[in-house]
Symmetry: C2
Subunit: 140 residues, 2 copies
């Protein structure tokens, strides 16, 4: 893990720093997507808020993570797949937001349905956000 995240940072030509490693590890360890607040909590207020802002922004620019649309004004981020190059996201899997526990899951194994756009429209990315109740909360 330790080595893996360093590799990713190097590949993106970023200096390997403590905060970047930690934050990247959070994403690898998390089953779902993370918001700024989640990272603050996970890090135990170890990092400055500003550092988190800047780190997330850098990761997005480098194509390491991407932002997920949400309806509640809290941007969430998730790891990009390998085929996300800098500035080019092919993030065509589905996101599931649990109304009960608030967790955002990335459903990698669910294929995205094709969408038929009206004449004249061209698409570069499709996001699908399904809200509902997740497995854990349904069992409880």
């Amino acid at each position: 893990m330790e080595a893996a995240v360093s590799e990713i940072l190097k590949r993106s030509q970023l200096s390997v720093t403590d905060s970047r490693k930690r934050i990247l590890e959070f994403f690898h360890q998390s089953s779902g997507a993370l918001a700024h607040a989640d990272i603050e909590r996970l890090s135990g207020e170890q990092f400055d808020r500003v550092t988190i802002y800047r780190t997330l922004q850098t990761f997005v620019e480098k194509g390491i993570i991407h932002s997920i649309p949400t309806a509640d004004n809290s941007i969430r981020y998730a790891l990009c797949k390998d085929d996300c190059a800098e500035g080019h996201h092919h993030d065509n899997h589905i996101h599931f937001v649990c109304d009960k526990c608030g967790t955002t899951f990335c459903l990698d194994h669910v294929s995205i349905p094709a969408v038929q756009l009206p004449m004249g429209f061209t698409s570069s990315q499709t996001d699908v956000i399904v809200s509902g109740v997740c497995k854990q909360c349904n069992a409880a």
Copy 2:
């Protein structure tokens, strides 16, 4: 128009006030979704910011409008269809965000593809956000 928006407000048991009428008209006149900032601009700073916040919140609660997930931290709202009751949204059409002009369209005539969820997951709503270039910007 004037009469129509008043009707909608009455139906939702809301007092018919100036700001509510104006804001509701904006939604009816707009082809796309509106963010808080759009409404401020459209109203020419006529209303207090707070009034806009509260009006939008009230409209969402009453099922008149709904919020659309966006990746850029700016909540956008759009009119609900008739079958949106209070607290119950069946907003299963597709939203298209133009990367060029930033407009959000509601593509009513595009059907939403069914999504096959993993075992244990239940869904209450599906949002599809397609990003790309809209008809107008493609033509330009």
